[in-house]
């Protein structure tokens, strides 16, 4: 098991400065501490998976980084500079793009309008042609299966909406992308596409934070797995660490039905061997 005391240890010192670096970040909603003393580093070209049970504070952490919530205390450094993420547009301007779990698309607008929302070129005379071409280019890069970008988003399926949301996050060439449950609503092929996409984004030297409940996806794509439990750091793992350890860190107990079954299976396999 990894070292809980210093979760911020860089996996590779040669990577230089972290894109984003959190120290002692806390967030209270009234009497409830959603986040307590969170520490997190993400380096360029690295995929960090945030895992944890429901209510562990993953989505709150993402919202803090996206400028939706303001932390109650703690410091956030972006590219070494201390920053205050006072609003979603401040986070966007810095280069932090977010794909929210609840997607945050405007259903009455078409795909192009949604991808460019808030970032339209030519504010006094929208250039629909240039926007549509760029939208198609982004969607084709993601191998998206969207028949028409001129239909309202309301007519798209959940997976198609996810693709639109991811395409939108890539529009601004961000330095850090956060994906909140990016594969939750997707089919098999599209899940694979999104994982491919995450790899491609990493290869471009961006930092990626992925929240997921799906441990298979996490292991397939993450370089480090950061576990949150009840709003606190609860260990940092690599994809090669054992499943049991990971589940134990997430649930807070090594003894549960998942670990028992895994032990039984391991014992059976030893018996066969």
């Amino acid at each position: 098991m990894a070292d809980i005391a210093s979760p911020a240890v860089p996996p590779d010192p040669g990577r230089g400065e972290p894109v984003i670096s959190l120290r002692n970040v806390s967030k209270n909603f009234g009497a409830v501490s959603a986040l307590t003393d969170i520490e997190l580093d993400v380096y360029p070209g690295e995929v960090v998976a945030l895992v944890g049970d429901n209510g562990a504070g993953k989505s709150t952490l993402v919202k803090v980084l996206a400028g939706v919530h303001h932390p109650s205390s703690g410091t956030i450094r972006f590219n070494g500079q201390e920053v205050s993420l006072s609003s979603p547009s401040a986070a966007l301007d810095l280069g932090i793009a977010t794909v929210f779990q609840d997607l945050a698309l405007c259903e009455n607008l078409d795909v192009v309008a949604n991808i460019y929302l808030g970032r339209e070129a030519n504010p006094w005379k929208l250039d629909e042609v240039a926007m549509e071409v760029r939208a198609w280019t982004l969607l084709n890069e993601l191998s998206a299966r969207i028949p028409s970008v001129r239909e309202p988003v309301a007519s798209l399926s959940g997976g198609q909406r996810q693709t639109v949301a991811i395409a939108r996050s890539l529009l601004l060439e961000p330095k850090l992308i956060m994906l909140d449950e990016p594969t939750a609503a997707l089919g098999v092929a599209q899940t694979a596409e999104v994982l491919n996409l995450i790899e491609r984004v990493r290869e471009r030297g961006l930092g990626v934070i992925v929240i997921s409940h799906n441990m298979e996806d996490v292991r397939a794509v993450a370089d480090r797995i950061v576990v949150l439990r009840l709003g606190r750091n609860n260990g940092v793992f690599t994809p090669d660490d054992s499943h049991n350890d990971l589940i134990a860190a997430i649930t807070g107990a090594a003894e549960n039905s998942v670990s028992r079954r895994a032990e039984r299976r391991a014992a059976r396999q030893e018996g066969h061997a």
Partner: protein, 417 residues
């Protein structure tokens, strides 16, 4: 097209998906249109059908209804409340409401009368002060909404009473101020018609503009590797628009022609339509009306959008009040009272702007107010009392909302939001 770097496997970018029906030419455009209508995207169709029905019924009952002189007069009456309704469209797009537009217009006419006639100010200054007060009131509503979270329904209801009180206070004991008929503003409000040659040329302009921009957009789309749509569709649309407008103008020319005030109203509608559809501001308005939180997360300054909509609405209401003072030749305690408020809101809704935000168009103010004025005008020609007029207008408004609700349900089941 296969030589274009953007095209996929020899097909245009937006037609690369194999599941997509390849609509081409006039027939394809027609098929797409019918599909949209069937799925509940009715657009302006109910209003157009309603107008035809109204014309047929009232002309049957009293042939004067469709005479050029009466139509000119009808359009003249549309302008003032129509401009107020245009402001209502702005707040409705956000899913908000302004109930005080009637009082605001009455107050603006009172300010005009007091400053211009009683205090002898230059008319331009009086107008600027009235419009400025309108903007200020709108800014106040937006601040109450943005900072305190006061629902616009309540804030503007309070405004309705307060502004009405201020109007009565300003007019004082006399109760009304007459504007001399010789003044240019009053002439503009009562008897200013476009020269027929000019209105004929202006009727040709929209079609020409549509043709030019349509063909240019088509060329640009094809150059970028997208389908351009058939040139025949563009030409057909432009021709239909031109024929329709020229027919209306030639018909009105047999009477007194097109009122300048109506031309001003149409100009404002066209400008507003451009602002809503083709600018970043308009896109942001639609986004905030559709999904406020999504718009905020996209980095749109939601508060500023609310501010702009409320300011625009109150300012247009003040402008409507000034013009109605010119139309009536007086600023009275009755100005802006009664049905102005309700007509302005009803016009926007009858024209097809949703009360729930995110769906609508500037043209709904134009078409909706023509429907309402046509009904009032027709009933007046039949010498029916206002009691009956209100009942019939109430029925029409209910019908419009029923059509909208049914269409919304159909849109939902066809996945068009």
């Amino acid at each position: 097209m296969s030589s274009n770097p953007n095209s996929v496997a020899g097909r245009a970018l937006d037609r690369a998906d194999a599941r997509l029906r390849q609509d081409e030419g006039l027939g394809g455009a027609l098929r797409g249109f019918l599909d949209r209508v069937r799925s509940g995207d009715l657009g302006m169709i109910p209003v157009a059908v309603g107008l035809v029905l109204i014309s047929v019924i009232f002309t049957g009952l009293n042939p004067v209804f469709l005479r050029p002189g009466n139509v000119s007069n009808l359009l003249y009456d549309c302008a003032t409340t129509g401009i107020i309704s245009l402001g209502i469209v702005c707040v409705l797009l956000l899913g908000e409401i302004d109930l005080s537009v009637g009082s605001m217009s009455g107050l603006a006419s009172a300010i005009l009368g007091v400053l211009w006639i009683n205090h002898g100010w230059p008319v331009a200054w009086a107008i600027v002060v009235a419009l400025g007060l309108g903007a200020l009131v709108g800014a106040l509503y937006a601040t109450l909404y943005n900072r305190i979270g006061m629902p616009s329904f309540v804030a503007t209801l309070a405004g309705l009473l307060a502004l009405l009180g201020f109007q009565l206070y300003l007019l004082g004991s006399s109760g009304s101020i007459n504007l001399p008929f010789s003044l240019p503003l009053v002439v503009f409000g009562q008897n200013a018609y476009m020269p027929n040659g000019l209105s004929f040329v202006l009727a040709l302009l929209p079609g020409a503009a549509l043709l030019w921009s349509g063909l240019r957009a088509r060329a640009r789309r094809q150059a970028a590797g997208l389908t351009g749509g058939a040139a025949s569709v563009v030409v057909a649309k432009a021709a239909a628009l031109t024929i329709g407008l020229v027919a209306v103008v030639l018909y009105l020319a047999q009477g007194r022609g097109v009122p300048w005030m109506f031309a001003l109203f149409v100009g404002l509608v066209v400008a507003m339509d451009y602002a809503i559809r083709r600018t970043k501001w308009g896109r942001s308005m639609m986004a905030v009306g559709g999904n406020r939180e999504a718009a905020r997360r996209a980095g749109i300054n939601v508060r500023r959008i609310y501010l702009s909509a409320f300011v625009l609405c109150s300012t247009l209401a003040a402008l409507g009040g000034i013009l109605s003072a010119a139309r009536l030749g007086s600023a009275s305690q009755q100005a802006g009272a009664g049905d102005v408020n309700l007509n302005a809101i009803a016009a926007a809704v009858i024209g097809g702007t949703s009360l729930f935000g995110g769906r609508g168009s500037a043209y709904s103010a134009l078409l909706g107010i023509i429907v309402i004025q046509a009904i009032s005008n027709g009933l007046t020609l039949l010498n029916l009392s206002s009691s009956l007029r209100y009942m019939i207008l109430g029925g029409v408004l209910a019908l419009a909302v029923i059509v909208d609700s049914l269409a919304r349900r159909s849109r939902a089941s066809h996945g068009r939001g």
